[in-house]
Every structure is written in C-alpha cells, then in structure tokens.
Amino acid sequence: MKFSIYRFDPEHDQSPTMQVFELDDDLLDSEMMLLDALLLLKAQDETLSFRRSCGEGVCGSDGMNVNGRNALACITPLFSLKAPVVINPMPGLPVIRDLIVDMEQFYKQYRSVRPYLINKDPEPEVEHLQSPADRDRLDGLYECILCGCCSTACPSFWWNPDKFLGPAALLQSWRFLADSRDQATDERLANLDGPFKLFRCHTIMNCVEVCPKGLNPTQAIGHIKELMVKRSI
C-alpha cells in the first residue's frame, strides 16, 4: 500500500515535501487502523514524526488530515482509505514537524471560554443534585477530546484564528452554559459578545462532518446564539 506523507523538519528542510512510502502487503491485515500503518512506517524510518497515545480514539493525540479529511489515525480503518493515502498535518495551524502542528492557538481559545464549572453557592456537603434530564443535556458536549479535527477543518477558523473561537472552544462554552449546576451564564455570554468570537460561525458544518466522536459543535453554537437572543429581549 502506498502513502504520500507531508514531511518537514525545520532544522534540515527549506520547505515541506510530500514523501512516498510503501508498506508490503504481507505486513498488513484487514483489521488495521491507519495508526498501525504509521507505526510500521516509523519502524522503517524513525524520523517520521506524529503524535499518538491511547490508540483507541479517546486521547485525541493523532488528529491529521487523511485524503483531504481530518481524522484520528487510530480509529480510521486502513482499508477504508483510497491508496495512495495522502496524509497532511491538520490545516490552519503552524507545523512544528511532519504531522505535528502547534496547537497553542487552539488551547488558548479553549482556555478563553473559562472551561470550568462556576457555582457561587456555598459548597454542599454532598453532591449538587441534578436531574437525569438535566444531565442528559451534557451528552454530546462533555465527550470532546480536544483533538482539534473540527476547528482545523473550519474555514472561519482559518480566516480568523485569533478572533473566532472555533467550534471546539464554543462546544465547551455551551457544555457549561447547558450545565444546570453552572451559574455564570451572564458572564459566559458577555465573554462571547461581539462580531467574531461566536458570530463568525457561518454554519458551514465541516466541524460536524469530521468530528471523530460524532459531536455537533454547530448545533451547540446555535444554542448559544439562541440563548443570547433570548437574554437580550
């Protein structure tokens, strides 16, 4: 099977190149994931660089652009891919080396939405009570693994990475707005005000299309907008 992989090492390369790799068919089996193939390639050429950890789609390390679409290598079945498999780093972020991007901008946006529960009441001795229905509202929100596949697939994020917060951070914002235990709704909404942070979402929905966890940031963004409108009247 053939692979065409983005290579760039700032110490040695003037500009990035696409390198062709090949894996012998007898090294492959039908149940392999793309990450397995990358690990085999790295065993042949240890300079090939990418992040990876859990290998089962829960840690969010190995987001990359595979045949034009952002995905997690560890849960992308190898034989679902058309060869040669073209692998690029996730778009829209500076490349550190090969498939490794600098995610600082992404994390900064995440931190900026105050992604933590704010409850101003005196702490109860036991748990805050939350009805199963209220808890259900967090399903589809808290599962985000911060892989970056969504934000780096978003044209609004590419154009205004410093001003638009991007789908991942906004999904987190809604995760706390939607939490019946959280009491910072006004501050959270005020923090998102203005033409860019939230409103640069043009519902292109690339984020929904690529999310490896099947989450729906566009819908979350819609909910925030609705809540803003409701609050303003």
């Binding site: 790295k42 089962e56 789609g57 840690c59």
Partner: protein, 587 residues
Amino acid sequence: MNIPRRQFDTLIIGAGGGGLRAALQLSQADAHVAVVSKVFPTRSHTVAAQGGVNAALANVRPDNWHWHMFDTVKGSDYLGDQDAIEYMCRAAPKAVYELEHFGVPFSRLDNGTIYQRQFGGQSMNFGGEQAARTCAAADRTGHAILQSLYQQNIRAKTHFFDEYFAVDLLHNQEGSILGALVLNIATGEKLVIEAKTSLLATGGAGQIFRTNTNALINTGDGMAMALRAGIPLQDMEFFQFHPTGIAGKGMLVSEGARGEGGYLINNEGERFMERYAPNARDLASRDVVSRAIVTEIRKGRGCGPNKDHVLLKLDHLDAAVIRKRLPAIRDLVLTFANVDLCDKPAPVFPTAHYTMGGIPTNRFGEVVAPIEHGPEERIPGLYAVGECACVSVHGGNRLGGNSLLDIIVFGRAAGNQIIEYLGENHYHQPLEDACLAPALQRLAHWEQTGDGESVDALRKELTATMESHCGVFRTEEVLSEGVEKILALQKRLPDVRLRDHSKVFNTARIEALELENLMDVAVATMMSAQQRQESRGAHSRIDFPERDDVNWLRHSLYHKASNSVDYKPVRMKPITVETFPPKPRTY
C-alpha cells in the same frame, strides 16, 4: 553549564488524575507548582478509564466505607497495607463529592444523586450481597474526571510544561531530591527544574507487555527514574490482567459491561464463571476471572476457529441500557471487533492492564525506602501517587473502580503533605552542576552515531518476552528462562543507536528514553515474579498454587543497583479499626 534553570515550590511529573489532583490542591494553597507532562494533560491515560470510581455513597444500595475497606483488603489478597486502605475508603465519599463540585458530569439517579453501578469484588456486610459502589459518568468516567481536573487547574493558574519529557530526578549526595532535568520535546532544549518537593505521577507501565490495554505513553517513566535514583520498586510481580480486553488487540472493555448485567460464555455457551465463583460469578475479582478464562481456553473450551478467546455477552440486555450506560464501549467494540454489543457477544481475552506495584510510599504520598533505619525511611523531597506508586492499597490485585479512587485520594493527600512540608522548608537546597551528570550522560548516549540495533527491534523483543514469560500463569521454569532472556536484552541496550539526532520534536529520541525505562521496569517485574514462590492475587504460580502467608505475606522490594529482591512486612494494622486477618479468598 549553560542549561537554563527554573525554580518552583513543587515539581509534579505527570498530568494524569493523580498529578492534576495534587497540583490543584497545591495551586489552591498558593504554592508555586510546575506540572511537567510528555503529552498535553487531557491526553494522559486517566482519560481511558471507563467504568467509574468507588465510594461508599450508598446512593443505590446500603453501603459504608468499612465494607469497602473489607472488599479492598480481600481483593488485594491481604497484601494491601490496611492503614492506607482504611484511609482511602474513608476519604472516598468526600473525594468523589469534590469531583462533582469540580464539575464532573456524573450520570444521575432519578433523585438527582450520583449514579452508582455494580463492579467486581464489591459486597455489602463484609462479604454479603453484591454492592453498587462505583460512581460513573456513563462509561467515560476517567475522561470526565481528567478534563474537570485540568479545567480546575486552568482556573487555579497552575503552571504547565506541556510536552516536556522528564529525563531523571536530580539529587544531592545526601539523597535529597532537588528537582529534575527535563527536555522540551518541541525544541529539544534541556531545562533544569529546581523544586523543594517533587511528585512522581507518571502512571503505569503496561507497555512492557506486547498486548495491553494501555496507551503507548505508559512506559513506566517515573518508576524507572526512581530506580535510577536508588529507590527500590515494590511488589512489581503483581501485574493485573484485565479479563476483558478485545481478543488479539487489547482495547479495554470495562468491567462496567459485566456490572450492567453482561456475562462471559465459553464455546458451549456456558456461563462458566458460575463454576469458579458461585456467588459473585462474573463480578468476582479480576485475577479470579482472568484465571478462569485462561483455564477454560486451556481445557479446549475457547471460542472461535482457534479456540483462543471467550465471549462477553450483553445482547440479552435492553439495547437502551447499553446505549445509555455503555455508549463508548459499544463504539469501541464496533470499531475494533466489528461487533455491535446490542446484537452479538464480543471476543475477549485477559490483557495486561495495571501495575499494582510501584514506588513505595506511605499513605501521605511520601516515598519511603530502606536506607539506614528500617524499611520505610522517607526520601527527602520526593513523593509519588497513582499507578506509578505502591502505597499499597491494591496489594496483589486491584479492584475495579479503585484506581481512579487511588489517584484522587492520594493526589489530594500528597498535595496536603507537600503544603505542610513547604510551610517548614522555605528555601531551595543548592543544586550543584555535578548532580546533573548522570542525567546528561543518559541523554548523551543517544547522540552516538553509527551502526546498532534499532529501538523498535529491541522493544518488540522485550514486550514479547514479558508476554511469553510473565503472563497470567507462571512457573519456575518459564520465569527463570524469562529472567535470563530479559537480562540478555538489557545487556544489548547500550548498543542500540538512534538514526535521528535532530532536535525539533524528535519522537524517536523520546521512544529511546522510554525504552530504557521499560527495560528497567520489565527487569524489576520479571525478577520479582521469579522470586515469589506462592500464588497470591494476580501472581499465579502453577508450581506453588497456594497462598503462603507464613513465608510470603510481605512486600517485595526490587533494587536496581544489586539487581536483587528483598522484602518488608505488610502493614496489617489499620488506623482505627480491627485488622482483617488473612482468610481463604472465595467469591
């Protein structure tokens, strides 16, 4: 020497649940904390914990901490230290309520309290009916806890060194730990972090086995750093094989699957756990269930064309329950075994999962070792919590749901202990350049060029050797051969060479440093296993099938310098209650 230095009150190595819980405690107390992690914190392996965290909240069935303590002592096969176990079980409810206050989205019962599920080895009334003690956020409890802890640390303004690799602890002549030499992975630059206190929270070492449930980052870094600093590792022969890894692949299927009503069957469709554990059946302790599966397969009752696995059956349950309580597991099994648990059973096999042993500590998270005065002398300035530590609450076998509990209870306890220490120790001790020499030498080795074996080739042999010689069932013959083989592999390590010597995000270099760590931990594990001539918890010797409390109710301590194992007594005396004396262990 022109290596930059930074000073902090506390250096925490590892940003999983244990490290982050300690960091939060410290940051909230205005300590100046540095958390060093080789991956971005939310990618730490705590994220993969599925089933939940144990605490006797009694939300579903009657419960109290003393029953939890009994189950944990029994589960440990009486090798756990009963003072630490009492402390953990008593602290559990408060620790879980705190997590809820931090924002963890626990699943809920109709009355709004935290949902609790049944897990293996849990009982009411000291061995009575099944308890329901495991607090769950669906089947993503670790993910939910790790993210909430990271988020609270953002709020508390903890200082993070993301994607920095800790090379080695730094210590002076007197043995005080003064910080660590770390490597900025993105730039390849070295940094000395000087700290009055250092906490190891680097997690387990599942990667010593070829097939395992662990993330690729679980390479026993902290354990190996401790060994190289002259600190022994405790009870390393006790490695947990989780009964239900996806066969041939290793991804974990939570015990929660059986807690929600799933069970195991052999090729005759028989629910075989009824024969091995008539009362607890599929919710017996993990060591018991893993042995039963391997025994069934050895007797020819395995499933599939090669009769090499058993099946985990959930399809008799309401599909809505599976979707609600086990959504991520259903996804995982669908992705990796191409089976929808709502319709069909999944192929499973016992898979290397959890390092019960580790860096010896007391229940305050202080690292203790035999130096001059007895077996439990404190190493000044050094603390350890979580899977890399051995406090020991898990003894010979950990109960499901007690690992997340371990990290939050002892992360918090170590944080508090460090705060106390910082109150009395205001200044950094001088760190001479000479203290850096061993760590720098370690890095320099990998700068050598020329021909040599590859990191990948040696690692593959290492993990295959551990798998074939240190598995669920062990014998003198297999272990002795294993010791010989692993020591031979260790001898080859100095001749391994890197091809890639670049500075920027050199993952090959990190893997080389990890291989050194894996090797140290693997040797410790194999040596300790070969020495222990009894069967206890996860350590099953076919040639010594019984537990031997007369000779072996004691902790092993493996020392790297002498490549030898010695022993220390188990702490049988709890803090306030009566000792649970060893009894035959049946489920």
